[in-house]
Every structure is written in structure tokens, then in C-alpha cells.
Symmetry: C2
């Protein structure tokens, strides 16, 4: 089995991505970050998911993006609540963390180079997303090109790294259906930007709203809500 580094936040998208990487025959090395996020409870979910799906190794890297600020997710700024999903991609919301995916992919690249793994997986999504610049296909293509110049492979003139984005053109409902086919238990995941200490989702942030819309459109119930006794 070929090794692959999979970015795993513990949310719905990255969990589905991990299940897809595994179903494609990769040996996954899961990478999560404690970056100063207010919803660090997602790391508990990431560990649960890594255990349930099965990974060769799960690393939680400690980095402090709070030091630089600039986002509602890494500061005391309020997380927007109750926004209409149809307007979420109009402008970049305050939950955008500057250069977050760039930082995450850079650590993934470092690990991949050491593991001699040419495959990186990231669960970015250009539909049903929150308007983040670092979730777009043109960004991923530019990152991949840079990664191949950054590394030993670049000097040797070979294409070594491929960044897989299996969700990039899927709707949230399609992602959920795909995950359910693969046997993912979404009750283990955590998507909320502003959960309580136990991981109970707020139900009203962009991430909760997109998740609920996805389950509705997929004609399925979110097992996470049942777990917390939340009425959708």
C-alpha cells in the first residue's frame, strides 16, 4: 500500500476524505493541528475518526496561529451565526484563518517528503463552502506546482507530489452520501466553529448550517445531533 498524508481536522469533509483515501488503497498517515482554534474539541473527534477508520499514524502538530490573529476562529471575535448558505460564498468571512491551508499543507509536505509519500489528501470543497480563497482548485494547482519545486524531487526534475482533493467538486450532500457508502460514522466527527466544551454543536455557525443543509439534501439524519439530543 502506498503511503499518503491526509489532513484530518475531525470534521465531516476531512473524515470523508480519509475514508476515500483508504478505499483507494492508500496507507494513510493522518495529520491534525492544534493551532489555537477555539474549537480544539475537533481534535478529540480527529482522534476518534483516525481510530475508527484506521491509520498508520496520527500526528497532532502544535502550532500557534493565534499568535498572528486575524480570524474569529483564533481570537475572541464573534463567530457569525444564522447566515443564509446562499450568501456564504459572497466575500470572505471572519472565520477565514489567514494562510491556514498553506501552513497545513506545508507540514503535510514536510512529513510526506520524510515518509517518501507522493500523495497528499485535503478535503477542500469549492461548492457549499464558506468563501475561503485556499479552497479553490487554482490555489491547489499552484500549491502542487510549488511543492514539486520545493523538494528534492524538484531538483531531480520529477513530479513527486500530487495533492488529491476528492471533494472539490462535490456538494455537501454528495460528500455525505459518499461517506455513508464507505461506512463513515458521522457521529464521530465535529464540524462546529463554536461548540461547547463537550463538543455540542451550536447549530447556527456557517459550518453547522452547511452541514445541516447537506444532511437534509442527502435525505439523511445527522447522527451527531442525535448523540447530543439536538433537534434539527
Amino acid at each position: 500500500m502506498k503511503p499518503a498524508v491526509v489532513l484530518l481536522s475531525g470534521g465531516l469533509d476531512s473524515t470523508t476524505t480519509l475514508a476515500m483515501a483508504k478505499s483507494q488503497g492508500f496507507k494513510p498517515f493522518a495529520l491534525s493541528f492544534r493551532y489555537g482554534q477555539r474549537h480544539a474539541v475537533e481534535l478529540v473527534a480527529a482522534a476518534r475518526v483516525a481510530e475508527a477508520i484506521g491509520v498508520a499514524e496520527h500526528v497532532i502538530a502544535e502550532i500557534d496561529l493565534r499568535r498572528f490573529g486575524g480570524s474569529a476562529l483564533t481570537s475572541d471575535r464573534a463567530v457569525p451565526k444564522g447566515r443564509d448558505p446562499d450568501v456564504m460564498d459572497q466575500g470572505i468571512p471572519v472565520t477565514y484563518v489567514p494562510a491556514r491551508n498553506t501552513v497545513f499543507l506545508s507540514f503535510a509536505l514536510a512529513w510526506a517528503e520524510v515518509l517518501d509519500a507522493g500523495d497528499l489528501f485535503i478535503g477542500v470543497n469549492a461548492l457549499d463552502y464558506s468563501g475561503y480563497p485556499d479552497c479553490r482548485p487554482e490555489y491547489i494547482a499552484a500549491y502542487e506546482r510549488m511543492a514539486n519545486l520545493a523538494t528534492a524531487a524538484g531538483v531531480e526534475g520529477r513530479q513527486a507530489f500530487k495533492i488529491h482533493t476528492p471533494l472539490i467538486q462535490l456538494t455537501k450532500a454528495e460528500i455525505i452520501r459518499k461517506g455513508l457508502e464507505l461506512g463513515v460514522d458521522y457521529g464521530l466527527t465535529s464540524s462546529c466553529y463554536d461548540p461547547d466544551r463537550d463538543g455540542r454543536p451550536c447549530g447556527r455557525c456557517d459550518s453547522c448550517v452547511l452541514r445541516a443543509k447537506g444532511f437534509t439534501e442527502a435525505g439523511s439524519e445527522d447522527p451527531l445531533l442525535a448523540r447530543f439530543g439536538v433537534t434539527p
Copy 2:
């Protein structure tokens, strides 16, 4: 004065880069990393240099690249000694840290976006270097392109970030002459990959060898050696 993020290791190249950014009229925000390097004493030098040259702020970010390994600089693997400078660019040495500049630039980009700074400085050098892939002009150009897609600027379709590499086509001797013109005190810097606890350079690693060659060619004496009573 325009703000700029300057990567500062505390070595000769990054110190000269900081002095050049300042002489070009930028207000520098210096960024260093405690990344598990065996020569963490360079951070003491970085703080001295930031103080001497004058910066708006100096941040030392804590990240653990040792966790991924893959380099003599972040493990107990021996640092090569006594190599001929003329062969250093033949192949990538064991002191190469996988994706290091990519990780460093990603944090610089995150900070720059928050500071609303469009200028990043990095002291990479494609001559008199150690054969690292992430010091080449084509890598820097690819990084800059990616950075402009990664960020809010990318969504808005504007070129916001420029990565300045003022040393990239200079020899080590030219870098030293430039720094001396700008009044840099190289006695404050630290270049060695394998110094003792007090920062005394080993004199025989690639970095020490290139530095000594540079001072010889510049017709100057290295004040760091005098400080430690080392005979060149």
C-alpha cells in the same frame, strides 16, 4: 513606512536581508522559528540582531519539525564536516530540512496577511549555497504565485504579495560586503550547524566553510571568530 515580514534565522544571510529591507525603507517584522534545530542557539543571535538593526516586532514561532525528522539538523544524525565548497551544490546534503522554507514562508504569509503587509523577505541564495531545492529562483516564483491565490487578495484578483530575495544572485563575499556597507555587525550573527552551547562555531560544517570562504573573498575578517578567539 511599509510593513514587511522578514524571515530571520540569526545567520549571516538573513541578517543582511533584514538590513537591506530596512535600508529600502520597510518597517520590518522579524520572524524566527524554534523548529527543533540542534543549533537553537541561533535564536539568541536572531534576538541580538533584531535588537541591533531595529524591528517593529520580533516573533519566535514554536513549531516542531523534529517530529517528522528527515534531517541532520533536526536529529542526532551527524552534520557533515570538512566538505569542499565546490562540491556542496552536487546533490542535496543531509542538513536539508524537508519543506523548511515552505513552512517558514507559510507562517510569514499568515502574519503578512494579518499585518496587511504585501512584502516578504527571505535570505535565500542560489550561489554559494548547499544545494537546497527551496533556495532556487523557480521555487520562490512558484511560491509567490501560490501565495497570491491562497489569500483574500487572490479572490479579489490582485497581486498582493511579493517575495523579496535580495541575496539570490549574490556570492557570499558580495553579501558580506553589502552588509558591511550597511553597518551590519556580523559578530552578532550565528551560522554554524553544530555550535557548542555558547554558540562557538565548529568551523567545519558546510555553513562555517561557506562563511569563512566568503569573508576571505571579501577581504575581511569575521568578527564572530575574533569573539570566540578562533583562528581562521
